[in-house]
Symmetry: C2
Subunit: 280 residues, 2 copies
C-alpha cells in the first residue's frame, strides 16, 4: 500500500500506513526534547486525556488513530471538534501508533498539541492560593504527578526552575493525567524568579532537614510558592536561604526524606487544609 | 580472560569477567519475577541502600562490585560484615553490573538478598498505629514509593492483596529507597485478609468518591489499615463495602483522583497528624 497524500478513508481522513512516511518520522521525532522545542509540539495519548484537554479548550493540531479509535461517542465528539477547528485527523496502523508513542500498549488515539509554556511575567499570582515551584526536578513521572497534584489542590500552576525534566515529554504528560492541560506551566531561571516573586505578594516556602518548624506548626499565607528541590540533592543552601519559611515533615522511620512528588503533595494538602479551616 | 572458579583478586574476592558465566546468568535471571520467587532472592543496588539494609541487619548473600566499588569507607564496612556473615563478594566489570541491574548507569555495588515475605499470621498489628494495604497495585514505582512513605509515617508494613506488582522487582526496590528492608511485607488474598483483620482490633479505611466524609472530618483509631486501590480502577465496590470508614480528599481541580502513592501519603500523614495532635 502506498501513502499517496490523496488517500482518504470513508470518514474523509488521510490514511498513513508506511513507517517511512515523513509525517510519521516527524511526529516520532517529538519523543526528543530538542525536536519538541523546535516544533513547539508535544504528544498526548488516550481518549480520556484527550477528552479532558478538549473540555478545557485544548485541541490537537493533529490526531492519529488506528482502527476502532473513533468508535467511542467521546471520540466522535473529539473528531468533530478537531474538524471544526481546522485540525487534521489521520488514520494509521496500531504498529505506527506504537512507534509514535514508544509505548508497548499504545493507546488508540494520539494527539499532537502546541506546547503551552507561559512567561513568568504573564502569571497573575493572585488567581490561586498556591503555586508549585520545582527546582532541578529530574524525574518525568514525578513532574507529571506534581502537575496532577497541583490540579487537585487548586494550584495556579507549576514554575520550573533550573534544569528540570521536560514537562512535555511523553512520560510526564502521561503521569499528569491531563493536568498538563489545566495547570499553567512556566520555565524560569532562579535569578529571574526571585526578583519577580518580590515584586508582589507571596510566601516562599521550602522543606529542609535543618529547621525546627513542623510543617503543621506554621501559618501559610496565600499566595504560597511551594519550593520543591531536586530528587537526590534537595534544595541548595542558597535557595533555602531565600525562603520566607522552611518547614519539615515528621519522619518516624529510618529515612530522612520522601519521594519528591509525595513530599509536594503532603505539603500542598497542608496548605490547602489551612485555607479550608479558615473558611469554615 | 577465563573465569576460573579459583581466580581471586588482591582482596581475596572471586573475579568474574565473562558475560556467559553461569552465576552472571543466574543473577541476571532475577530480573524476572518467576526466577526471584523460585530462588527467594532479589537485587538491591547502590552503597546508600545497601548500607541502610546493613543498619537494619540485612546483609546480602552475594555482593557484586566493579573496580572502585569498595573504595568508600562504608563499602569497606559492608565488605567486612558480609565476610563475617559468610556471604560471597565478587568483583566484576561495569558492563556486567549494568547487565545485572538492567540500568544504564549501574551503581558500582549490587547486593543479592533473601526476600522477606512475612505470613499474615505472623504480624503483630499492635506494633504500629498504621498499616498500608494495597489492592492490585500495578506500578512498581508506586509500590516502592508507598514503602518509602510507610517508613516515614512509622507504618508497620505493607500488606499486598490480589495481584500486585512484585515488591522485590528492581524498580520497586529502587523507589523504596531502602524501605524494602525496614517495612514488613505481606502478600495475602482478600478472603484471608478480611477474616484475619476481624480477629483483632483494627479500623479498615478506604478512599472513595462515593462518600461525604472528608478525610479530615473523621477520627482514625489505631491500628488503622489504610486500603489503597488499583491505579486505574480504584477500590472494587465490595472492598469499599468492607471498610469501616470511607473518606475522600478534597479535589479542587478537574481531576477526581490523585496518583495512588500520593493519595496514600496524604491519607497516611493525616492519620499520623491526628495521632500527633492527640499526644500533644
Amino acid at each position: 500500500m502506498t501513502d499517496s497524500a490523496n488517500e482518504t478513508n470513508a470518514r474523509g481522513h488521510r490514511v498513513i500506513t508506511g513507517f517511512s512516511n515523513p509525517l510519521v518520522k516527524r511526529i516520532r521525532s517529538l519523543r526528543d526534547k530538542k525536536h519538541r522545542r523546535r516544533e513547539g509540539l508535544f504528544l498526548a495519548e488516550g481518549l480520556r486525556i484527550l477528552t479532558e484537554a478538549r473540555e478545557v479548550g485544548a485541541l490537537p493540531d493533529m490526531l492519529f488513530y488506528a482502527r476502532g479509535g473513533l468508535d467511542h461517542p467521546l471520540a466522535v465528539e473529539l473528531e468533530a471538534a478537531i474538524g471544526d477547528a481546522g485540525g487534521e485527523i489521520i488514520e494509521t496502523t496500531p504498529d505506527i501508533l506504537t512507534k509514535l508513542s514508544g509505548k508497548d500498549n499504545a493507546q488508540t488515539l494520539i494527539g499532537v498539541y502546541r506546547d503551552r509554556l507561559v512567561p513568568l511575567a504573564e502569571i497573575d499570582r493572585d488567581t490561586a492560593g498556591i503555586w508549585i515551584v520545582a527546582q532541578a526536578l529530574r524525574d518525568p513521572g514525578n513532574l507529571g504527578t506534581i502537575l496532577r497534584t497541583g490540579d487537585a489542590v487548586g494550584a495556579g500552576g507549576l514554575i520550573l526552575i533550573d534544569d528540570c525534566t521536560d514537562p512535555f515529554g511523553v512520560e510526564a504528560v502521561r503521569a499528569s493525567m491531563g493536568a498538563i492541560f489545566t495547570q499553567t506551566i512556566v520555565q524560569a531561571r532562579w535569578d529571574e524568579f526571585g526578583p519577580w516573586l518580590r515584586r508582589g505578594s507571596g510566601q516562599l516556602v521550602g522543606t529542609s532537614l535543618q529547621t525546627d518548624h513542623d510543617y503543621q506548626g506554621v501559618a501559610y499565607d496565600a499566595p504560597v510558592f511551594l519550593l520543591v528541590g531536586n530528587e537526590s540533592q534537595g534544595l541548595p543552601a542558597d535557595y533555602q536561604a531565600a525562603c520566607d519559611l522552611l518547614v519539615k515533615m515528621p519522619m518516624m522511620g529510618r529515612a530522612d526524606s520522601l519521594n519528591a512528588a509525595v513530599a509536594t503533595a503532603v505539603m500542598a494538602y497542608e496548605i490547602l487544609n489551612q485555607r479550608r479551616a479558615r473558611s469554615r
